[in-house]
């Protein structure tokens, strides 16, 4: 693929198929007394009522809460910069042209 390394997806795919077969063999040797629609399939063994489906599902805005909390000093200013105002978009554009032109003129 490149002069720097070797990579063959077919080898990986072959390994994946082989591994899947092993997994399938293990799975077929597993518990066979599973009964659908009985207490076996209930979430809570104590018999507690299941919440509504909406409440069971973790919503997108709740995911990675800790990540965002840890990086709040980064996310605060970054999200604030995304104002949604087109004048600001063009201000970034013009400022960047000025800054880059300065760098290019100085470096020659």
């Amino acid at each position: 693929m490149s002069a720097l390394s070797f990579w063959s997806p077919l080898v990986l795919l072959f390994s994946f198929v082989l591994l899947s077969l092993v997994v399938l063999i293990f799975r077929n040797r597993g518990e066979k007394r599973y009964k659908k629609g009985t207490a076996q399939t209930k979430i809570f063994l104590a018999g507690e009522e299941e919440p509504d489906p909406e409440k069971l599902h973790v919503k997108a805005h709740n995911m990675y809460w800790g990540f965002f909390e840890a990086l709040k000093h980064y996310y605060g200013p970054t999200m604030k910069a995304h104002t949604g105002i087109i004048n600001d978009y063009l201000l970034w554009f013009v400022s960047l042209i000025a800054l880059t032109a300065l760098i290019v003129f100085i470096s020659g």
């Binding site: 693929m1 490149s2 002069a3 720097l4 390394s5 990579w7 997806p9 077919l10 990986l12 795919l13 489906p53 909406e54 069971l56 599902h57 973790v58 919503k59 997108a60 805005h61 995911m63 990675y64 990540f67 965002f68 990086l71 980064y74 996310y75 970054t78 999200m79 910069a81 995304h82 104002t83 949604g84 087109i86 600001d88 978009y89 063009l90 970034w92 554009f93 960047l96 042209i97 880059t100 032109a101 760098i103 290019v104 003129f105 470096s107 020659g108």
Partner: protein
């Protein structure tokens, strides 16, 4: 056949253009006939680009001069410079042409079902065809002024498509923003073209490259062009228009507008490698592009993780993925004047960046289509309101998984292959940059895990009990891209050797590009 190959550069532009003007006429009589004309025109365009590509890979660059006695005669007799409109198609141009034609065809097929629920289908297809004309024209032209013209065609049709669903206020806003930034960007490009014309009395890229002196005015023109095309590419910090526009564009057109941005990346690459080449300060320009790339990668992905609107999430990832391309290309430019470094890792970096363009067009296009399929079926883009869709939309789920794994760089998907090429080459240039690129890939996976978990997994929600899979044409549109992703994933060597490495070689070979129009140097 030979005649068709000779005329294919102009036919690939003229056929969608003709179809764009025919569509309103045919649409008056039959919408079915109109749809057929659109699909046939785009299929023919794809065929023309492919036969042109085959010939270019076999026998080299094609020059097509409009209005000349012979199309291959770029410079008229008794003239020192080319004065007519010249199309100059090398391996890099045709590589981009293949991407544009393929995504346009998939997008048109996908849009057939979607447009049945909308009014103004004729205008929609006319704009879609004009956008295709703009993209292919921009990629095939050998003339800076025509580059500006095709950029305008691309921008106006793209803005109209983004704001197509005028019943939504955010669609009008997204279209308006795209129009404003495109108009300003195009004005800046025109200003740069004026600088060249004022200095050299030339507009042809090859002729200009031959006499390029890298004066202060040339430096200013280079900065203007990099920034204008950088803004159209949505590189950070000039990216903020992209989520506003991509998220509101109707089904099928978001990938098209995104690929139009990739066409602007092509223009940036063409300007740097072919127009300026080693006459510019390659180290400074390379680093400027690298910084834009790293900012795009990192800020794009970190903001994407926080999104709860699926199309805005994907739009920020589009920005982030463009950063990988800029990183690879930037490293290639930074070492362009150093033959040892160029041979050791520079060429691989450029190839990685170029390979990422096609990979990204495929999986990002597919992901945008899956997002639009969710919106089509659920009527919302809000991930907080979704859940359990894997039960109702099995094929869309599979397509989403393929796209998500590919964009996250999971082996053996094609995204991994191009990212690996970028990592290994960039590492030799600066290990820190390679580490940032890998970190971005991890965050990409985290973000798509969130999107997948929110939309497709979890218990069945009662309000979506009646939701069904999207219609067949939409599945076919997604299927075309998914099949191509799988093919590119399984046979990366074939793709790299057949279309990517020739594109890299043609970019580096500035003298070859110039001499094909201007004769011997």
């Amino acid at each position: 056949m030979q005649s068709l190959i000779i005329h294919s550069p102009i036919l690939a532009i003229a056929i969608p253009l003709l179809a764009a003007f025919l569509t309103p006429l045919i649409g008056k009589f039959s919408s079915k006939a109109r749809d057929i004309v659109v699909i046939v025109a785009l299929a023919v365009t794809e065929f023309l680009v492919l036969i042109l590509a085959r010939d270019i890979y076999a026998s080299g660059l094609h020059v097509y001069t409009l209005g000349a006695l012979s199309p291959t005669l770029a410079t008229p007799e008794n003239f020192m410079i080319p004065v007519r409109i010249v199309l100059e198609v090398d391996a890099m141009s045709v590589f981009m042409g293949i991407i544009s034609a393929t995504v346009a065809l998939a997008a048109a097929i996908y849009s057939i079902s979607f447009m049945k629920r909308e009014t103004g289908g004729t205008k929609f297809y006319t704009l879609l065809l004009l956008l295709t004309v703009g993209m292919i024209g921009l990629e095939f032209t050998g003339d800076l002024f025509n580059m500006f013209i095709f950029l305008e065609i691309l921008s106006i049709s793209g803005a109209a498509l983004a704001g197509f669903r005028i019943r939504y206020a955010d669609a009008i806003e997204g279209g308006f923003k795209y129009l404003v930034i495109s108009a300003i960007g195009a004005l800046v490009v025109l200003f740069a073209v004026g600088i060249f014309y004022g200095q050299y009395n030339l507009l042809n890229i090859a002729a200009l490259a031959k006499v390029m002196q890298y004066t202060s005015l040339d430096q200013l023109a280079l900065v203007l062009l990099i920034m204008a095309f950088g803004m159209k590419l949505a590189s950070v910090p000039m990216h903020m228009w992209a989520p506003d526009t991509y998220s509101v564009a109707p089904a099928g057109t978001t990938p098209m507008i995104y690929v139009a941005s990739q066409a602007c990346l092509y223009a940036l690459i063409r300007i740097c490698f072919t127009l300026y080449g080693v006459t510019m300060n390659t180290s400074t320009i390379g680093w400027i592009i690298i910084v834009l790339g790293v900012l795009s990668m990192f800020i794009g992905v970190t903001v994407a993780v926080k999104q709860t609107d699926i199309k805005r999430l994907m739009a920020y990832h589009a920005i982030s993925q463009s950063g990988y391309m800029l990183l690879g290309i930037g490293v290639g430019i930074a070492v362009l004047a150093d033959p040892v470094a160029l041979a050791a890792y520079g060429k691989t970096a450029i190839s990685g960046g170029i390979f990422h363009i096609v990979n990204n067009a495929l999986y990002k296009g597919l992901l945008f289509l899956t997002a639009e399929a969710l919106f089509f079926s659920l009527g919302t883009r809000d991930l907080n309101k979704m859940g359990g869709m894997a039960r109702n939309m099995k094929y869309t789920t599979i397509f989403f998984i393929i796209g998500a794994l590919a964009i996250s760089g999971i082996p053996p998907f094609n995204g991994f292959t191009s990212k690996l090429m970028i990592y290994e080459s960039v590492y030799q240039f600066s290990p820190l940059l390679a580490v940032i690129a890998m970190l971005v890939s991890i965050l990409t996976l985290a973000s798509f895990t969130k999107a997948f978990q929110s939309a497709f997994t979890g218990p069945a929600l009662p309000q979506y009990n009646n939701v069904k899979e999207v219609p067949k044409p939409m599945l076919i549109g997604m299927g075309i891209l998914a099949v191509l992703i799988v093919f590119f994933s399984l046979f990366p060597n074939l793709v790299v050797n057949t279309i990517v490495n020739p594109a890299t070689d043609s970019l580096i070979n500035q003298a070859g590009y110039i001499s094909s129009v201007m004769g011997g140097l």
